[in-house]
Amino acid sequence: MYEPKMTLTDEEKGTLAGQEGETKAKMMECLVRYGDLFGAKRLLPVTHKQGHFVTSFGINMLKPVFPLMDDLIAAGLKCPEGFTVDPRPLDYANVKAGPLEKFVFDHFIYGQQAHYEEQLTKIGLSGKDAFTCTCYLREVGNTPKEGDILSWAESSAVVYANSVLGARCNRNSGILEMFGTILGKAPEFGFLTDEGRKAAWRILVKTTKRPEAQILGSAIGMKVLAEVPYVEGLDRYLKPLPDEDTIGYLKDFGAATASNGAVGLYHIAGLTPEAKRLGEALLVPEARTYLIDDAELERVYASYPLMWKHPHAKAHKCFIGCPHLTLKQLNDWTDKMTAGLRESGKKKLAVYSVFTAAPAVAEEFKKTPKYQEFLATGAHLSSICPLMYTNNPIAGKKPIMTTSNKLRTYSMSRYYKDDAALAILVGKERN
């Protein structure tokens, strides 16, 4: 049996020793080893018990995951207050796929999807609409409060929960987050401690206009990797939380820091909860400085490789919403597309465009008159995971546009700034 370095309660020791079965003992061993590696002194109780998991896809290659899930189900284990999970990889109703694509997706790549969703349901999935990466949005409702201890994964959700909500969650891996949620425990290290939430980088934003969230996040992520940035000069461009525009901006900014680097927590001076409360006391004494001006953002933007086989090909599809869009972002895109089409004299978007949002957000949007305007542009609304749709050999070969830096990172998709993408979609410019 593994000899833990951290102090465990008698109950935790019993679980580790197998008193609650072999499966639970192995789960506890993984969690304790994980904590021991990072110097955790103990396990903390998870206070926001609804989990969020990163693995939503029944992808055939995940060979060890399906039997592992069977082990949990056979042991009768379940998440006590359920869980949300990242978006589904497929949505034929709203994201068109040819017969060959469908055949390959259904039989080869995502052949385990139905089976895996059954497994997720058995361990406590929070309903058929629980598939989104933006579980923390008001409409979805898996929203921790400041100080809550979480056992979540999904890099964009973790960084949002830590930074914008002030909850406490490490960058847990898929599977480990599930073990923590079921056991109701999280090892106390990193972002679960006051010390681990201090910033090693002071980021000075000195741009002449509001920086593109996706590029600013990318630049910071690539610079600081896993360390915590304290960002100054950005609050002058954003309204105080919980402004909906600020929520959307910070969601996209955080996702870029997490995917282009490994940021799990950021502080925005004057804006995010801990920065407002503690200010520069969050900076460690030896914090390094990174100055971001217009030229630096352009340098980062120009460094992105173009992975399309034919650089001048017409875009096959455009995905907007990775992470999933907020209701405000859907409304804003609708207004911009409608106005853009009016100016260009076109009736429909020039590229097959998919806007993605959580099922609950999409339902809210559909209740508004704006949805009809959205449909009139020819745009498509889906709750698919653009990342899982595009990072496979079939879809990946096609020239796909995106405004998401996360999607750019994990697929062959080409990144466009919002305005540049809009100009192409409404037919003012060709990509």
């Binding site: 994980y34 290659m61 891996s173 898929g174 480990l176 896993a226 282009n260 990172t409």
Partner: protein, 147 residues
């Protein structure tokens, strides 16, 4: 031959070839293309943002890196490629191991009985010295010999 000493996370003896990333190693972006193939026998790194390793074969090698970055599927992806016999045999970190790599290596060992070697805290000079293709010897006590 240069000698480095790190913290043994999971020990083991190894002699083989180095594959070196000087930047954060994006696990999902690096492994996904090869791992998606059911017939894959050797992972070829597919992260277009990593000029050090893009197109390099890494299965069975000693992966030398500062840390892993990117998606929190990272640990599960490591577990997956390890269970399929496709993972780098040894993971050598210049600084502290990160939470995602740690999770993947723990899951591989505890759940799938795949004994990946992992040593961290080898120091920044380690990544200055080691080059892709170098011969690497790892000893049980965390000693890493390069060249």
């Amino acid at each position: 031959m240069k000698e480095f000493k790190g913290r043994v996370i999971f020990g083991g003896a190894f002699k083989g070839e180095a594959a070196v990333s000087h930047q954060g190693f994006n696990t999902l972006a690096s492994f996904e293309k090869s791992a998606l193939s059911s017939t894959c026998k050797d992972i070829i790194i597919s992260d277009q943002n990593n000029p050090d390793l893009y197109g390099v074969h890494v299965t069975g090698k000693a992966l030398c890196l500062p840390m892993t970055i990117g998606s929190t599927t990272g640990g599960m992806v490591i577990q997956t490629v390890a269970s399929r016999g496709l993972a780098p045999a040894a993971w050598l970190f210049a600084s502290d191991i990160d939470s995602l790599a740690a999770s993947g290596i723990i899951l591989s060992r505890v759940w799938n009985k795949v004994p990946l070697i992992a040593i961290d805290r080898l120091g920044v000079d380690f990544l200055v010295e080691v080059k892709t293709g170098d011969r690497i010897e790892i000893r049980e006590d965390g000693t890493v010999l390069v060249g």
